[in-house]
Each structure stands twice: as C-alpha cells, then as structure tokens.
Amino acid sequence: MAHTRDFEALVLPHLDAAYNLARWLVRDEHVADDMVQDACLRAYRYFDALRGDAAKPWLLGIVRNNCYAWLEEQRMSARWVAHGEDDELLAAVPVPPDSRGATPETELWHAYRRQAVDAAIRALEPPYREVIVLRELEDLSYAEIAQVAAIPIGTVMSRLSRARAALRTALADLLGTE
C-alpha cells in the first residue's frame, strides 16, 4: 500500500505532461490515451526501478518508448496499406485571417497563431518534435530530455538547434508580427 501511495504522489502528478508528449508524438487523442495508460501501468510495475531519479523524466521516457513502438508499427503497416495520414494534416495549413477584419487583438488572430504554431511543431519529424515539446512546453532541462529520449546531451542540443531553425523558417511571418 505504501508502494501505491508513493506512486500516487510521485508519478501521477505528471500525467498531464505524459499525455502532452504522447499526444504530440502520436497525434491522435485515443492512441495517446492508450499510450499513457499502458505507460502508467508499466511504471507502476517497475516502480522499484525508480531509485532516487526524478519521476517526471522517468515516466516520460516510458511514454516515449510506447509512442515510438506505436509509430514504428504504423510505419511497417503503412508499407502495405495506402494509408491516409491522420486528418490533422488537413488542418495543417491554416489560412491567415482576413487582414481587414482581424487585428492582432482579435480571437480569430489568436486562434490563427495557435494553429500556425501547432502546425509547425507537427511538421517536425518525431526526434525534433519531441525535444521541442519537452523543452518549450514541458520545461525539461537538457539533462532530463537526454534521459527521456535516451540520447547524449550534445545530441539534445543539436536537435533543439535544428528544430528551432526549422520553426524559425515555418513561423517567419508570425515572428515578424510579435
């Protein structure tokens, strides 16, 4: 019981972060639910393996592995099935609001920026997308990202740098208006 209480206190507060990472990686809400649920169960089973490490990167690492396994499965089955990428891509090219009606203060403009930023992150390949999500949305340190993605810190930094360069290009219009 103490075991379960510790798990409640240490791991479950990071459920939102876990879901955010999963959702950004698999880009489907139901698959993301499954990824997180399975990751939590695994985390609970191997909770003893968490010795003095921080729980957040540990849980996110398990979530990430699940997501990559799923992405790999999709990639394999995509060879056989002419598969339609998820329908989010249809929304990936947001239309800028009508410049006459929409000033930077309007809701429409705000929604447009969110769509454009989301689309730009989605367009990144998973290894770049994950470092951006972990760094900019989840505030993880380079060392923590290295732990989640199981890569050296130097690789974290170079991937972040390349991801940011791609985002700078994709979001050049918006950066000009900030």
């Binding site: 479950l12 459920l15 639910d33 649920q37 920026r113 969110r114 930023v117 740098s161």
Partner: protein, 218 residues
Amino acid sequence: MNEEDADRAVGRLLREHATRHRAGDALQSAVRTEIALEAAGQRRQAAPPVARRWHWPAWGLTAAGFACGVLATAITLHLLPPTDGSRALEQELASSHVRALMVAHLTDVASSDQHTVKPWFQGKLDYSPPVKDLAGDGYPLIGGRLDYVAGHPVAALVYRRHGHLINLFIWPADGQAAPTLHSHQGYQLAHWRNAGMQFWAVSDLNGEELQTLARLIP
C-alpha cells in the same frame, strides 16, 4: 536579430501559443482504475488466503486509524447512524470510493468467485451480504473488502464496468425502496433497499449503468 535572439523569440511564440494537451478525467480515472486493479491482483499473488491471517492485525491497525478518521468526520458533520441517507453520508461514500482507488486498497479478498468472497465476510460482519458475480451481465466481480461507514463496519463489493470501478456498499436496513440516483463531486451514487439490506453503489459511471447494476442485485 542574431540567432540566439531568434531562438528565444521562437521559444516565446511556442510557450505562448502552442497547444498543451492535458489528460482528461476519463484518462485519470482509467489510470487509477488500472493501478488499483493491478495492486489488488498483486496482493492476490503475494498472499494466498491461508497466509493472510498474519496480515490481518496490521490491516486492523490501518482500519482502526481510518475508522478514527471517519468517526471524527462523523462527529464534525453530526452524522447519524448509516440508516439516514444524508448528504454527509453520500460524501463519505464518495470519499471511500475515491480512497479505495487512491491507495489501491480496493479489495481484501480479490476474487471473481462469489463463493470465495461471500464466506470471507463471515466473522468480520454480523450479517451476511449478498454476493453475486455479474460477469455475464457485463459487471464482473473484482473482490470485496471491509470498509467503515459512519464508524460501522460494512461490506464493500467491487465490480468492474468497462474501464470503470464500482464500489457497492451493503449493510442491514429495514424496508424496501427502489433505486434513487444521487451525485456528489462528479461521482454517481445509487441507493436502494431490499431483503433487509441497503445498498449504495458509487462510481464515475453514468447513472443509467448504476441503475442497471441495481436491477441485477437482489
């Protein structure tokens, strides 16, 4: 703008505008359910029924502590004995349901076999609660445990419905009453009386599925 400033600007744009997806209530509940079931299952493997006896005093201490807490709550809320269907009772049952999931103290006897669960209550309660596995109707029995409601030991049966758990609290009461639905802090409660017992079913399921359960129980 140099590259560092440009990166900072990108970071700011992302932090301000990118969608942060958040785990919904259904996922939170599903995760807690999975963990609670896993913990219940582990105990079943770790402690066979005969060897459980040594475990009992330790659990009794926990229960005593818990009962003290309940008693304190009961005093604070001027709670009547559990024949009164007050809001305070609903609150307590909802809390008990949540606690069973939170600390994964879901079942003392983890079994889907009603012939294992029913005898388990003998000697622990001065009444014999009806125990029925409803797997055939889509409500499999997970197990049972002794719980304390308003300072009284009561039987709690645990059923599963899809990804959700249901705690069914049972203790003696006179009279007959058809199921009534209540809700408390997002949890649904169904209450009915029959055959000398009163029943409180608590879950995050919708009321309809709780009423279906009520119809299946004697």
